[in-house]
């Protein structure tokens, strides 16, 4: 079938559906539609298709992260030679100062503060030589490591089959509490999954270009942080939940 096989009626039909006919041609075409049931059936299936297409859910767009990526890229081009490391360090210093102020004056109980502390820990992990204290892809190795350091060890789920490989674990400090963070990797991105005891209010969204996704399961509240699109973190969450019940 060649591209030029668009027949006359089909051309008119498409243009009518797309609102591209001038009023006189549209009126003439409507008269034909009324008289020709075959043409009307084709018209109706195009409308059904359009309804289906319009019902496709729109992806959430990570506007903030895109903006900061674009700003950074354009700034590099315009001779502002602040390196990425310098920017990251500035973010880190800001975040640590913010966290210190938070710890000193306010109890870290609001969801916003908790998620900002978790992001700070994640950034610190990224800037360290390794984002974990124990490197292992074996959950039977990570679990006892946590057991020997924390009153309670987290659930550790192997998600290698879902594209999230286990890298290791580390102990983070949140407020004054040590907490367990399990580290995963996905397509070159590091994911920190922090486990908090009990139901905790934690805000999702994004901080400093990192996306945060949080959920509760059983007696724990989980907070995942990564510079991954929301959709990927959602997949991570789903894989984690599915993995728990395996």
């Amino acid at each position: 079938m060649s591209e030029s096989s668009l027949d006359h009626d089909d051309g008119l039909l498409q243009a009518y559906v797309d609102g591209e006919l001038d009023p006189a041609s549209a009126a003439a075409f409507e008269q034909r539609l009324a008289a020709d049931s075959g043409l009307r059936a084709r018209y109706e299936s195009l409308l059904s298709l359009r309804r289906l297409l319009h019902a496709v859910p729109r992806d959430e767009v990570p506007v903030d992260r895109l903006r900061s990526r674009i700003d950074a890229a354009v700034e590099r081009k315009t001779g502002d030679r602040r390196s990425w490391r310098a920017i990251a360090a500035a973010v880190l210093v800001g975040a640590v100062l913010g966290a210190a102020a938070t710890a000193a004056f306010v109890r870290p109980n609001s969801g916003q503060e908790t998620s900002s502390l978790v992001v700070t820990n994640h950034i610190r992990g990224l800037l360290a030589p390794q984002p974990f204290d124990i490197a292992s892809s074996d959950r039977h190795e990570i679990k006892p490591w946590f057991t020997s350091r924390l009153p309670e060890s987290p659930q550790i789920v192997d998600l290698g089959g879902d594209g999230f490989s286990l890298l290791g674990g580390r102990v983070d400090v949140l407020g004054e509490q040590p907490v367990a963070t399990v580290v995963y990797r996905h397509g070159g991105h590091t994911i920190s999954l922090t486990t908090l005891r009990g139901p905790r209010a934690v805000s999702g969204g994004s901080i400093a270009g990192y996306n945060i996704r949080t959920w509760r399961e059983g007696e724990f509240t989980y907070v995942a942080v990564a510079d991954l699109p929301d959709a990927d973190l959602e997949r991570f969450k789903q894989a984690f939940l599915a993995g728990l019940s395996r």
Partner: protein
Amino acid sequence: MVRPGREGTTGQAVNDKDKRKLFDEVFLPHLVQAYRLARWLTGNAADAEDVVQEASLRAFRGIAGFGGINARAWALTVVRNTAYTWLLKNRSAAVVFTEDLDNAEQQRLERPAAEGEGTPESLLLARADAEEVQGAIAALPAPFREVIVLRELHELNYRDIAEITNAPIGTVMSRLSRARAMLIAALRNMS
């Protein structure tokens, strides 16, 4: 005393500042659409972000080439072209640019609805769910997918689509018609 070197640097900086202002006004307002288009053309969210970043740089460098009318079409043109260069470079196996349908696809298109004898096509279609629809769009060869996405999801008119895809309006129309026929065939056979 004239110091040409200095002056050159200042001129460059001023120029960059103007460029940045223009870029912020012309490209950034269309960031959401840019991302959505990139998402459809690349097929996943992480690649879409890379493409949008790359496209922004291209847009910034080429902002002087923006003619002053229809910023949205201009921005989407840059995104579309960047997406294809990016795909060829990074995902060359995954993308089909051809417009020639193979025999199987052709037969599927021409096969009458097997199960739905007597049921109007519009009713058969209504049974498809969002995931099937998404899958069917994703399965279209690139030249058909881009026109259907630009028309139905970005709601652009033929002229803009022709400009963005660098094709004559007649070609846009026939691709749209084929894309719709393929989607209808795919979704009808699913339900």
